[in-house]
């Protein structure tokens, strides 16, 4: 291959990776994660890297999403223990009793509830795992189909990533162009609130227009242990949210323990509040349920590492940033969220967001960065990684084809994409929202 241009060589490597993936998945029936690993290995070998060198790269790459893997597992154990303790059902009962007369306000409130933790901490999984189970129970009780409930939770998580004050994709892009993360909060408020209200209502309006039968909703709830009342019901959630926010509020005084440990502490508290709980069984079930998404995350990390090693990532970046204006916008509108579906919104912000922003310099950088970050969060629902879509499915208990979640989310996702691309293209015109 050495006589070929670099672009041709890398294109061949990328083609081989694709063919190897399809062959492993379709012919060898390896399953998604193993197929990705196989494709990565073949891609590395074709690029003339040695087997031992590639072993190191595959292992190293699989650590890319370690923190997310740990959060997904520990948070799932937390939710399962919450369910078994009866605490989750008690919270659902309380919220139904408080809000049943105003279902539209309730669904918007539930959307903001999921968005709250990531708005302050960053990762959308914080909101999905802290409140997703509660929200899914209420939405199911209100009559929303499970697939829409899953979409609702996933959208809440991903809008939480976007919501101020902490928008990590925007922070990553800003840091990449040496722009301080200052002046983002107010414009983010202006963009986030309408999007959140729209997404909540777009998914639920059809199902909540009729009168709410409170008795029927409460009757569907499982019996709640008598001990589960008052503050006991809310203690695990208060602990989890409190620990997350205290580290954020007093970062130089509260030791940072990491979100996985926060969920472990929340689980520990929940264990002693309700009835007897088989913790070993709960943790085994959680491991079983989270294994598919966690193995995909590890395989994606390894694949991305090989794509970086062989220059495939560079080819993607080059193609994106050297495209003429129209194609640049097209790449941002279509390519960016799709790649965020592989790299997650944080990864895509780093790999593509920074070069995109550099290609867009000359317009209002804060508004354009906010637009790019909006587009990147759409990728959190996109397969194969679906970094927030798949955890939402775990939380809601959705086990059918994941693509159905993407389908029912199409309108809200399109709204986020359109808002994002408008902010990118007309960044200067939208400068007024900076106030």
């Amino acid at each position: 291959m050495s006589s070929l241009s670099q672009t041709s060589q890398v294109t061949i490597v990328f083609s081989v990776i694709l063919v190897a993936y399809v062959a492993a998945y379709r012919l060898l029936k390896f399953g998604n994660p193993l197929s990705m690993l196989f494709a990565a290995l073949i891609g590395g070998l074709v690029s003339d890297f040695g087997l031992l060198d590639l072993a190191r790269h595959l292992v190293e790459g699989s650590f890319t999403f370690l923190n997310i893997v740990l959060i997904i597992y520990t948070a799932t154990v937390f939710i399962y223990v919450q369910k078994l303790s009866g605490g989750l059902d008690a919270i659902v009962r309380d919220l139904i009793l408080y809000f049943h007369a105003k279902p539209k306000i309730l669904v918007v409130f539930l959307m903001f509830l999921i968005m709250l933790p990531p708005a302050f901490t960053g990762p959308g999984a914080d909101g999905i795992f802290a409140f997703g189970a509660v929200v899914s129970s209420i939405l199911l009780a209100m009559g929303l189909p499970l697939v829409k409930v899953t979409a609702f939770i996933a959208l809440g998580g991903t809008l939480g990533v976007f919501a101020p004050p902490v928008n990590i994709p925007a922070m990553i892009i800003a840091a990449g162009i040496n722009m301080p993360y200052v002046g983002f909060v107010i414009p983010l408020v202006f963009v986030t609130i309408p999007l959140a209200v729209f997404c909540a209502l777009a998914l639920s309006l059809k199902h909540i227009s009729g009168p709410v039968d409170v008795d029927a909703m409460l009757k569907n709830l499982p019996p709640i242990p008598t001990r589960m009342k008052g503050i006991r019901v809310y203690l695990p959630l208060i602990a989890v949210i409190g620990l997350m926010l205290s580290g954020r509020a007093m970062p130089h005084y509260v030791p940072h323990m990491g979100v996985p440990l926060v969920f472990v502490i929340g689980t520990f508290i929940a264990l002693f509040l309700g009835g007897r709980i088989n913790f070993l069984k709960a943790s085994q079930v959680a491991f079983h349920d989270t294994f598919p998404i966690n193995s995909i995350l590890m395989a994606v990390g390894a694949l991305v590492q090989i794509m970086s090693l062989t220059g495939v990532r560079g080819l993607f970046v080059l193609s994106a940033i050297t495209a003429p204006s129209f194609f640049l916008y097209l790449a941002i509108f279509i390519g960016f969220p799709l790649f965020a579906g592989i790299f997650t919104s944080f990864g895509a912000a780093s790999v593509f967001g920074i070069p995109f922003m550099l290609a867009l310099l000359g317009r209002d950088p804060i508004i354009a960065t906010i637009g790019l970050s909006a587009i990147s969060i759409v990728g959190n629902l996109m397969p194969p990684t679906a970094a927030l879509g798949k955890p939402a499915a775990i939380v809601a208990g959705y086990r059918d084809a994941y693509l159905n979640v993407v389908k029912v989310s199409a309108v809200p996702l399109l709204a986020i994409l359109v808002a994002g691309i408008c902010l990118v293209i007309f960044a200067d015109a939208f400068r007024f929202i900076r106030l």
């Binding site: 670099q6 072993a55 699989s62 650590f63 370690l66 993360y181 940033i321 550099l358």
Partner: protein
């Protein structure tokens, strides 16, 4: 699948996993072996960073501090390399100073591996080589490539959001392990803040008149091929840029942003007596745009993708006919160091530092870096 078949499949997969863990584990541990830096003729003593902050003694954070002292009294200049280990030209320039420079007046204090932890790992998903080799006339020298950030083994987990101390500036989560976002540091902070604190103490206790922090940046980053200066150092930096221009070395002057916190040029300038500056040269390996990530990319900086990006005016450091060779990047750093040291005495007559034998820009291009590297002696 039948039980025996399932058992053997599991056994094979387990064996592969164990073999992979054994091999890769050995590889990752080998990154803790520090490459030698040879004491050149100008080195009068070697100290430790823990001399300035004993809490890091016997930890991975401790690193060598090389003193090059002149026979005549004068001012002190501190040079940091390896604050970001993947910014290879910064570390290599510091190594070349230790192995070649001779001080006549004043003192030069050099820390080539400022963040030792960053040299002990590579960033997941980046696909970087672990080491690179520089050829010399007597053989070769191997150097670790590392990562921009502290190894998570030494500081983990990252918070959801990094809040810089003491400014309260908000930054992305991973920046908590970025040494050049941690200054002035805290004695009771995380690993990275403690290293920043130790380096700040070094600058403060050694009464450094000038501190030069050698870095590299992505060619697509507007802040490249430049000297970033704290406002107190703006005058001397501006003069240096002009002097370098007259030598045919184009460097720009960038003011240190007041709202971007934690960097040496901002915090050391604000919290100590020193004139703080940071230099950036282009490193294509750091840019997501790069093609194949191997040793050659680090050493030659040749990559067709950058040529394409340059044709479309997307780069802030022109991609020359020879790419971005390490010799050019190191030459740029050392020429800047040389000029700034000379100007220090001109601008502040009581702060004289005279240094000889710093490898020159032209000599580096002609002879290569290897010709300035000394052969390590076995102890």
């Amino acid at each position: 699948m039948s039980m025996p078949s399932r058992f053997f499949t599991s056994l094979i997969l387990l064996s592969i996993a164990l073999a992979t863990a054994f091999f890769t584990g050995n590889h990752f541990m080998s990154l803790y072996e520090r490459e030698p830096v040879v004491k050149g003729p100008g080195v009068t003593r070697v100290g430790k960073l823990s001399d300035y902050f004993p809490k890091i003694k016997n930890t991975v954070a401790d690193t060598n501090v090389y003193f090059l002292e002149g026979s005549e009294p004068g001012a002190t200049v501190v040079v940091f390399g390896g604050i970001h280990s993947i910014e290879t030209a910064g570390m290599m320039s510091a190594v070349l100073l230790v192995e070649n420079a001779v001080v006549k007046t004043g003192r030069l204090i050099v820390v080539p591996h400022s963040n030792e932890s960053a040299f002990t790992h590579n960033a997941p998903s980046e696909g970087y080589p672990s080491r690179f080799t520089v050829k010399t006339s007597w053989g070769s020298r191997r150097f670790r490539y590392g990562d921009r950030l502290t190894n998570p083994v030494h500081q983990w987990p990252d918070p959801e959001i990094y809040v810089h101390y003491p400014s309260g500036d908000l930054q992305a989560d991973f920046e908590v392990r970025n040494l050049d976002r941690a200054f002035p540091g805290r004695p009771d902070g995380g690993y990275t803040e403690r290293v920043a604190y130790a380096l700040t103490e070094l600058v403060r206790k050694e009464n450094a008149a000038m501190t030069l922090d050698l870095h590299e940046a992505r060619p697509m980053n507007p802040i490249v091929n430049c000297i970033i200066a704290n406002e107190r150092a703006a005058e001397i930096a501006a003069m240096a840029v002009m002097d370098l221009g007259m030598q045919g070395i184009k460097m720009r002057l960038e003011p240190s942003p007041k709202k971007l916190r934690g960097m040496t040029h901002r915090e050391l300038g604000d919290h100590t007596q020193t004139l703080a500056m940071l230099m950036e040269t282009p490193s294509p390996a750091m840019d997501k745009l790069h093609g194949r990530a191997d040793e050659s990319l680090i050493l030659t900086g040749k990559d067709e993708f950058f040529r394409s990006a340059d044709h479309r005016r997307l780069l802030y450091a022109a991609y020359g006919q020879n790419g971005y060779p390490l010799e050019e990047r190191v030459g740029r750093h050392l020429a800047s160091v040389t000029v700034l040291i000379q100007l220090l005495a001109e601008v502040h007559s009581d702060q004289k530092v005279e240094v000889e034998n710093i490898p020159e820009y032209k000599a580096l291009q002609e002879n290569g870096i290897g010709s300035f590297l000394r052969m390590p002696q076995k102890d």
